[in-house]
Each structure stands twice: as C-alpha cells, then as structure tokens.
Subunit: 159 residues, 2 copies
Amino acid sequence: MLRISKLTDYGTLIATHMAATPTQVVSATELADALGLGLATVSKVLKALGRHGLVVSQRGTRGGYLLSRPPERISIADIVDALEEQPFGLTECSAGSGTCTLETGCRIRDGWLRINTVVREALQGVSIAEMTPPPRFADATSPAGRRVRGPSRLVRHPG
Amino acid sequence: MLRISKLTDYGTLIATHMAATPTQVVSATELADALGLGLATVSKVLKALGRHGLVVSQRGTRGGYLLSRPPERISIADIVDALEEQPFGLTECSAGSGTCTLETGCRIRDGWLRINTVVREALQGVSIAEMTPPPRFADATSPAGRRVRGPSRLVRHPG
DNA sequence: TTTAAACTGTACTGAATTAGTACTGTATTT
DNA sequence: AAATACAGTACTAATTCAGTACAGTTTAAA
C-alpha cells in the first residue's frame, strides 16, 4: 500500500510529543491519555523504540520513558527503522535478497536501489523536532520561533 | 510495511521491459513469458496501466499493448498511481482526510505532508527509461549510452 | 514492609489487504 | 470460421495488521 503502518504512525506521534518536553520522564499512561491511544498500543510502540535505543525506560513508580538523545538528532527514519520491517526497502529485492524469484534477469533492481536511497534520505532529513508546525503566537525572537520553511530543507544529506 | 505491492513491482518491471522497445506492440503472453510471471497477473497489471492511460491496447490476433507515450515521460510515480491505493500518502491523514480519529490535536500532519512531497518527487523524478542499468558494451557516443549517474539527478522538481 | 505504579515479554484474535487465478465475454485478424 | 488477445468480474488462500490481554518484574513512596 506504500504506507507506513499505524504503529509507525503512532511512533512518530509519540516521539514528537516527547520532543516537546525532551527532559521530562513520561509514562505510557500519560502518553496514551494525551494522544488518545490505547495504553497497550502505546506500550508496544515504546518497547520497540526502546529496543532500538531511541528512548530509555525507567521502571517503577514515577517511572516512564525519556528520549535517549536530543530530538533534533532523532529522525523519522529512526522511527521507521524501529517499527517497520527491516531492512528498509520499497521493494522485496531492494530490501533483502534471495527471496525474489525473478532475480535472474531482473533489470530494475538497480533503479529501485537508487529510489530507495532518495526516499531514505528524505526520512533521515526530518527530525522529530521538526514535525510540529511553528507555534502560532510564538515570539519570533525566541528559540521556539525557529522554523523549517518548506521541503527544500527536508532533503539534506547527513553523510 | 512501507513497501510497494507486488503488483506495483510487476508494473515497473513490465513498463521497463516495454520501454526497451517502445514502438513495438507486445502481448500479455509475451510479457509473461519474458518476465516469468503468470499471464493472469500480467493482464491485471496491464489493465490497470491502461485505465490510467499509460499503455494503449490493441485487441485481436496480433494485438497487445503499447506505451502511450515515450518511456522518458512515464515516471515511477505514474506506475505507482496506477497500481497503489489512491491518493498517494505515506500516512492515512496525509492521503485522505476525515478517517483519522486523532485529527483534532494532531500536530504532525504538516510534517508528514512535507515528507510526502519529497518522496513523491523522488518517484516522479525517475522515468521507466532510467530504471535499467546502462548497457555494458554500449558505444559511449550512442544515445543509449546516456545515463543517469547517481541519486543527485533523482530529485528533480518537475513542477 | 507493603502497596501501587509502571515497565517487560509473549501470545492471541479478528479485520483488512494482498496475491494469484479462474471464468465468461468481446474484438480483430487470418 | 477459428484462433488470438484483450475486458471485466469474482473468488480463495495467504499474509499482515491492529489492538488487546495477561502474567511477571522493578521501583518508589507510604
């Protein structure tokens, strides 16, 4: 369907929400309430994010989750990698290898690999700190007033 | 799964194959044989491509399909549009509208719309003529020797 | 020390989507 | 008239997704 799964969608939602208060421990319950999602669903997402080192968890009363690094350094690609099937690839042949029955004589694997690269760079080029629209009544001189202006900034090649 | 469907994959395969002999009428049977796919499957794909004006069909003996325009002017985005769910969108909210139960208070729709744009441009930026690797023993001065060199060319902004 | 909040891990079930195929009908050429 | 090839619809099995449930462990606070 060329669409991210709902779980991945929730992942970006949750991570973006956490990015708003990056130093604050938030519990799955709080996130579920704030975002209108089921607790079990939110837990499932956070667990996956934790496995991939994007959040760290704190057990017990007053426990919860915390972003493991500044939100500017967590990209949408990171979230996708944590929640979608790995490895990344728009087609079967460009992701794994060997499973495609057409391998022999396939002339377009090359093309798809190039497209993958560009798409991946697009996802890598957006951090969870950049997902939310600029605050409407923000003071333009405040740090919160800094904003991304359109897609041109999106494709940056991190390395 | 953030992956194109197999049908879409077949679509790019079929279109790319046809792009190699752009003026020749090819039957579904020939394509199925050449690509190692089922006839019914190939027919299904070609029908969808026809509905979207990418190929024209010719019935009867000696009938078959023909690209409706030069392969340089048929993009991967065209194939995707013909075979994947419409409209294009990596998330539910960035494709349609109204179906997302979280609409109210969703802060990231904007971000996903921007990402969509970039991904879509990547798909629009590659024609089915550019999918195959350059012929290995091609004369460098021949038209067939022209080639795309890496992803930088991929993101071109057609509009 | 007890209790409650909160994370951990696994498993399950219904729904939705995908993939591939079958079948009947129509058009065209030889 | 016959063979080839497209047109359209429908169907079934397999896969994937989405959401939830449950039993267990850790930690902080009362």
